[in-house]
Amino acid sequence: MTEPMVSFENVTKRYGTLTVLDNLNLTIGRGEKVAIIGPSGSGKTTVLRMLMTLETIDGGVIRVEGEPLTHMERGGKLVPADQAHIRKVRAKIGMVFQSFNLFPHMTALQNCIEAPMKVLGLSREKAEARAMDLLDMVGMANRRDYYPSQLSGGQQQRVAIARALAMRPKVMLFDEVTSALDPELVGEVLQVIRKLGAEHDLTMLMVTHQMGFAKEFADRVCFFHSGRICEEGEPQAFFTNPQNERSRQFLRAVLEAG
């Protein structure tokens, strides 16, 4: 078997006395598209944020292509990693947020070339060429000189996707990226994600409430409940015949809500 792209090994996360993730074990293969679903507060966002190093972990280890993310191996032991190590491993991960988080003082194009130039050291020409390809891919090439405040939510989110991709990550994290959008704008963003999904070597981890999209798009669904994976499996099987009582309850509730 080839090495997994990402693995969570006995990862625990606490906020004070609240255990948000309890001994999480999750392995994601190269190019795999995983949908993470579950009720609010079950720890879905926390999983992505830990992988993006936006949250520390209280136990266990996260590996990216076998390399520990926030730890370093030293003398056969794992010790907390320094910033240089974290940045080296983190370079493989990109993330798109629910609230876009575009840089408001920069145009769409500037948003997309900033990190490639400053972090990857690309020349302006190279960075712009790369950014324009991606803006074109997300259908935003003609808005390259617009500031985020001049764009709709769906357009902002598409720019945010292009911005993340410009760093050429191997793993893309999507945290409810359509939840802040007006209903009529959801489709254009999902369409972009579908396009990305066709690139077979991009690994994708997606927290979503769009069950229809998860079913059609994902290779695997993980259902979270109270900081644990309650059930996981191939989407067809999961959605048509959930095994766990909690999954059944959740799917029923989602269906009723429409």
């Binding site: 993006m52 190093t53 936006l54 910033q83 940045r87 983190r90 370079a91 991960i93 990109g94 993330m95 947020f97 609230s99 988080n101 575009l102 840089f103 408001p104 003082h105 920069m106 145009t107 900033e114 990190a115 400053k118 972090v119 500031y147 985020p148 405040s149 001049q150 911005r163 993340a164 760093m167």
Partner: protein, 242 residues
């Protein structure tokens, strides 16, 4: 008031000064007051540069510095905010020589006033930095930027726009504080006015001119800051309005 209104007021102020300067009763004071005004402008400009620098350094150290530097920044801010500018000027000019450090009056004035306003400015800078939404920091992490890159390219430019109006107030405060430098022997505008008042007793004429000159200076500051605000607001201010 809009920019146009401010510009109009400035024009009116300058025209009045011009008109009065031509009158018999006022003319004799013009050379002296002009010298004083030049000194005031010089101190204001130099102290403003120092204030902005000190504020930026102190705010960044207080927010992100290692413990000893953080404490140094906090101590600086508290001392200079907690004591009066006059006492600080006296310390720099009259007390430091006792410890073997002698400063020119002008140097002491610039350092004293610059650091005094800088201490208030540090809180303005710090407030503007922490007001930048957390999601902006998170985006820089997701793009694998270093903290220094994030601060320089993403956080500070956004904080900058929010800082401009309070800095406008601080610069005007600074301008007014310069009137204290006469206490350490410098011949600024306020000092010249008092001096001439004592010898001529033409209080109305002298202090009318002085009032108008200070007003013109503070209007220049206000207008400059408004223009800066307009430029820095590209994108960001539109986002706020939306």
């Amino acid at each position: 008031m809009g920019l146009r209104g401010l510009a109009g007021l400035l024009a009116l102020t300058i025209a009045t000064i011009w008109y009065l300067s031509g009158l018999e009763d006022y003319r004799i004071f013009v050379p002296g007051l002009a010298q004083g005004a030049a000194m005031t402008v010089q101190i204001t400009a130099a102290a403003a540069v120092l204030a902005v620098t000190a504020a930026l350094v102190a705010a960044l150290l207080k927010l992100y510095g290692p413990a000893p530097l953080r404490w140094l920044a906090v101590t600086y801010i508290e001392i200079f905010r907690g004591t009066s500018a006059l006492v600080q000027l006296f310390w720099l000019y009259f007390v430091l020589p006792v410890f073997g450090i002698t400063l020119e009056a002008y140097t002491a004035a610039v350092i004293g006033i610059g650091l005094n306003i800088g201490a208030y400015g540090a809180e303005v800078v710090r407030g503007a930095i922490v007001a930048v939404p957390r999601g902006q920091w998170e985006a820089t992490v997701a793009l694998n930027m270093s903290r220094a890159q994030a601060l320089r390219r993403i956080i500070l430019p956004q904080a900058f726009a929010a800082m401009i109006p309070p800095w406008g107030n601080l610069f005007i405060e600074l301008l007014k504080t310069t009137a204290l430098v006469s206490m350490i022997t410098l011949g600024d505008l306020a000092f010249r006015a008092q001096q001439m008042n004592q010898t001529t007793m033409k209080t109305v004429q002298i202090f009318t001119l002085v009032l108008l000159i200070y007003l013109a200076m503070s209007l220049v500051i206000t207008i400059a800051m408004r223009l800066l605000e307009r430029r820095a607001g590209r994108g960001i201010l539109r986002a706020r309005a939306a």
